[in-house]
């Protein structure tokens, strides 16, 4: 194996699994350390810069960081990264003075279609640079699906107001209640660039017998949630069936429980494990006495004289073919009809662009999705960019934010006369953490605590009011305990081969058997010869140059605790603990010259 090039920014970025997994690449360990220090405002600002909506995401994020968290490979559960983000938002001081100021206008005008997370992220990045950003949305207030589809008991309006206002107050013009009906017309208004962040606004239909006849009591999940959100709907029948196994289904059933649904069931085609809903959302639904029934496919809505009386299901089972693909086949049990008063259909979302005319220069693919470059987010019309669910179909808020950053960067480069396919490298700050002998400027004493539970409001009270937030968030004591579980994966073990005397002290002390001194070889072979063989090829091996004895040092990054004991026991300082802070390039970052091609 060749010696590892640790100067490549991606090498250590991948070691910070949470940050690497986050679409917006938020420097997670850095803000968790700040929380542990009680510096909540600083922790919030790091988040705000990176993911724009810390308070909102701290309650609702799909948390791709947590399955990636190294702690989850060392013990049972990852660090509660998402809920620590909320701690930063909950306990920060007034941070308004730390926000950027609207820059002097540069005369360029940007139109943003849709007032959700993608558009707002673009506006957040571009407004301080002097762009005049105009956001159009059909709803009266900004926030998009964050406001219309996420129930208030999970995400109170006050949090949305606060964080959307931070952006709108940057001099962003918000045109609420103005749905864009024609891209052609918008193009005619001579904006310098148009960003489309209109989401995936259409709930998928379930076209089975009885759908039309019983329509009065069959509701499309996301439309129904929006109606609840805006106060147009405030009750539902006592017996409710929710069809679908995603997070929208979980929001629907829990909302129904608060609007009069006494017996609410979620009924899903797939098995429990394969459901698209996040495990914690399923848990929350179960906790509110909502059973989840699996392997049942709806085949007909039962109705009597135009009134829905139930849904008939076919029982299925999963069978796997030779390629491991799952097929649902009838199990042979008799069909079952479950009586109900209302049905909520949450079987998926679709994109819809009826307002984009054929002659706008926007090409669509065979799935009727716009052709969008995944690196620059530009469409086939060089002035029109897409992001969020509108670009590649339904994902989640954090992806929308990440798209927004990248699209904003593209727009800025385009309007600065630069090549948008050239993407600036992230900024990397490296600093040794050594303070003295066996003293580090981070806490390297590994906490053995298990993941702390977030306190919930009493169920009886929580179910009474749809606007009462269920999760109370960590208090400071719990937050500190949870923050201490973070392994500081951004504090990297840096090895200097010329200083090493091969005394084995690091090998002996390493609690995880990560370090091996051995003969070099092919990677597969070396992986087998490690002190603890490493089957995880997605986790890098850090290989040194040749040492005096002709061997090399190989460190398996997989389960390193970043405890720094290798560096503490090293007599020559061949190991050092250095913090790698990696800031992704956003529009207006100072270093725009160093560039690499868009992926």
């Amino acid at each position: 194996m060749k010696p590892t090039d640790i100067s490549a920014p991606d090498y250590f970025h991948k070691v910070v699994d949470c940050q690497w997994a986050c679409p917006a690449h938020t420097p997670v360990p850095e803000y968790i350390r700040l929380i542990a220090e009680g510096r909540y405002s600083d922790a919030y600002m790091i988040n705000w810069k990176s993911n724009v909506f810390p308070g909102i995401l701290g309650r609702t994020c799909d948390r791709p960081c947590e399955p990636a968290c190294r702690r989850g490979r060392v013990e049972d559960n990852p660090v509660a990264i998402c809920r620590l983000k909320r701690v930063a938002a909950d306990f920060k001081d007034d941070i308004k003075h730390r926000l950027p100021k609207p820059g002097p206008k540069n005369g360029k005008r940007i139109a943003l279609v849709g007032g959700g997370p993608a558009s707002l992220a673009v506006a957040r990045d571009l407004a301080p640079l002097g762009y005049h950003c105009t956001v159009f949305d059909g709803d009266p207030k900004a926030g998009g699906m964050m406001r219309s589809q996420i129930p208030k008991f999970r995400l109170p309006d006050s949090v949305i107001d606060e964080e959307t206002d931070y952006i709108l107050n940057l001099g962003v013009e918000f045109k609420g209640g103005q749905r864009v009906d024609s891209l052609k017309q918008l193009l005619g208004e001579n904006y310098d660039a148009i960003f489309i962040g209109s989401g995936a606004p259409r709930g998928r239909e379930l076209d089975i017998p009885g759908r039309k006849e019983a329509a009065a009591n069959i509701h499309i999940g996301i439309e129904w949630l929006a109606n609840v959100s805006f106060g147009h709907v405030d009750k539902i029948g006592k017996r409710v069936i929710v069809l679908g196994g995603g997070n929208t289904a979980m929001d629907c059933c829990r909302t129904a429980r608060r609007l009069g649904g006494e017996s609410v069931k979620v009924i899903v085609r797939s098995g429990f494990e394969e459901m698209k809903a996040s495990p914690w959302e399923k848990e929350d639904a179960l906790h509110e006495d909502i059973p989840i029934l699996n392997y049942m496919v709806p085949v007909a809505f039962k109705h009597v004289s135009g009134k829905l009386i139930g849904v008939t299901f076919q029982h299925v089972k999963a069978e796997y073919d030779a390629k491991g693909r799952r097929n649902l086949v009838p199990s042979g049990e008799a069909d079952q009809t479950i009586p109900c008063d209302d049905v909520l259909v949450a079987v998926g979302q679709e994109n819809a662009f009826p307002w984009i005319e054929a002659d706008c220069g926007i090409e669509f693919d065979k799935w009727h999705m716009p052709k969008v470059d995944p690196g620059t987010f530009v469409s086939t019309n060089p002035k029109v960019f897409f992001g969020g669910d509108a670009a590649f179909g339904p994902k989640n808020i954090i992806w929308a934010v990440a798209h927004g950053h990248d699209a904003a960067l593209s727009i800025h480069r385009m309007l600065s006369g630069e090549d948008i396919t050239e993407r600036p490298l992230p900024e990397v700050h490296v600093s040794s953490q050594k303070m003295g002998i066996h003293e580090w400027s981070y806490d390297n004493d590994i906490s053995a605590d298990k993941r702390f539970k977030v306190p919930h409001r009493d169920k009886v009270i929580a179910l009474k009011d749809i606007r009462t937030e269920v999760e109370l968030g960590y208090d400071l004591k719990l937050a500190l305990g949870e923050a201490q579980r973070c392994l500081n994966c951004d504090v990297q073990t840096i090895f200097s081969a010329p200083l090493c005397i091969e005394c084995d002290a690091c090998v002996d002390i390493c609690p995880m058997d990560c370090i091996t001194f051995t003969q070099n070889g092919e990677e597969d072979d070396v992986r087998q010869r490690l002190k603890a063989p490493s089957p995880h090829h997605d986790q890098a091996l850090y290989v040194s140059g040749d040492l005096k004895t002709g061997r090399v040092m190989v460190k398996d990054e997989d389960v390193c605790l970043h405890c720094g004991l290798c560096a503490e026991r090293c007599p020559t300082g061949a190991w050092d603990m250095q913090k790698y802070l990696i800031d992704m390039a956003h529009a207006g970052s100072t270093c725009q010259s160093k560039a690499r091609s868009a992926a």
């Binding site: 490979r73 060392v74 013990e75 066996h438 390297n444 004493d445 590994i446 053995a448 005397i501 091969e502 005394c503 084995d504 002290a505 090998v507 002996d508 002390i509 609690p511 995880m512 058997d513 990560c514 603890a532 063989p533 089957p535 005096k548 004895t549 389960v559 605790l561 405890c563 004991l565 503490e568 026991r569 090293c570 007599p571 020559t572």
Partner: protein, 351 residues
């Protein structure tokens, strides 16, 4: 020294031995020795050997004297019996313990000061009495705790950290052990665990006095140019006569070396030692030959390592004294006081 406790987390893929323990279960407290100390590698090797042999930690007694080396029993086998004795007195404490309870595995851990100076006589007598033990000397050639004076094993002509040349002759503990009749004699190097771990395992399985001299560089006071116990010097002058694999139980020895280069030695308890010869002429059953070989190579400035001598049919002190199989400390009153009739018989036989 390190102030934080070594985290309890371990690699999720760690293998377990027959007892269900990982090698982490054989650790002790975190070392308080200087960073990089060779002794810590010997500690790790003892841990590895005990793990590989699936030794029950409560069946081990680790006994030491005074010095950096004698601190190390605190850093391995945290669930074993331990006795940190007076300076140089480890051998007599160990001999006493062994006589009282022959069922335990005895690890004597000592240093060059502890065994070659103040405890030289103790060392000699425990070896010549063939106490069943594994006697490990962690040999760095200096008094580390008192800031680096030459010890009795420092080679004549080697230089101290401050540049002073040693004018005294060195004691070679391996040569002495051979001469005193040790039945398992080895030398190794803390920086070469692949050699050291099987040697410790074989020594533990050997019935009789096993002696291992482990050269263990003192990072703080004896790892400079001019030292003959530094990492660089030992690596350059290391002349390993053989490599050892220890096979416990009935597993066949899987020999994938060139024919004629492997010698299998079976010990009393069935343990097989597969010795891969590095020096074709070296015979580990020839005590006299070993002594000559050592002297010749020492004169050339070479450090001979490996299993230097083994007598697979060795006897120990208990055999010589013809003690009962039952450990003396578990004999009950009936056995210990068989009554006046027996006493009369004994007295009669002496009349």
């Amino acid at each position: 020294m390190t102030y934080i406790a070594k985290p309890k987390f371990h690699h999720p893929g760690l293998k377990k031995n027959e007892l269900g323990y990982t090698h982490r279960d054989y650790e002790g407290k975190i070392s308080t020795l200087c960073a990089g100390c060779g002794h810590d590698s010997i500690t790790a090797s003892i841990i590895e050997a005990c793990y590989e042999l699936s030794i029950e930690p409560h069946r081990v007694a680790k006994i030491s004297g005074i010095g950096c080396s004698s601190k190390t029993p605190d850093y391995f086998l945290g669930n074993s019996h331990g006795f940190n004795s007076v300076h140089g007195r480890m051998p007599s404490v160990l001999t006493g313990a062994n006589l009282a309870n022959r069922d335990l595995i005895y690890l004597g851990v000592s240093g060059d000061g502890d065994s070659a100076s103040i405890g030289f006589g103790q060392f000699a007598h425990s070896i010549r009495r063939a106490v069943n033990m594994t006697y490990i000397v962690e040999n760095n050639g200096v008094y580390g705790l008192t800031k680096g004076q030459f010890s009795a094993t420092a080679d004549r002509g080697s230089k101290s950290k401050k540049g002073v040349t040693n004018t005294d002759n060195a004691i070679d503990l391996v040569a002495i052990a051979l001469q005193l009749g040790a039945t398992f004699v080895a030398r190794s190097f803390s920086g070469d665990k692949t050699q050291l771990v099987p040697l410790i395992a074989a020594a533990i399985r050997h019935k009789g006095a096993s002696f291992i001299d482990v050269i263990s560089p003192c990072i703080a006071f004896n790892n400079h140019a001019g030292s003959t116990k530094s990492f660089d010097y030992v690596r350059e002058h290391n002349d390993a006569v053989n490599r050892l694999d220890v096979v416990v139980g009935r597993e066949p020895i899987n020999v994938d070396y060139a024919p004629g280069t492997v010698q299998v030695v079976e010990q009393h308890d069935g343990t097989k030692l597969a010795l891969r010869k590095l020096d074709a002429d070296y015979d580990p059953h020839d005590r006299l030959g070993a002594m000559t070989f050592l002297q010749k190579h020492a004169a050339k400035g070479q450090i001979v390592t490996g299993l230097l001598y083994v007598d697979p049919d060795a006897e120990d002190l208990h055999t010589h004294l013809d003690t009962v199989e039952t450990p003396l400390n578990t004999l009950d009153e009936v056995a210990l006081c068989p009554g006046s009739g027996v006493l009369d018989k004994i007295n009669a036989s002496l009349r």
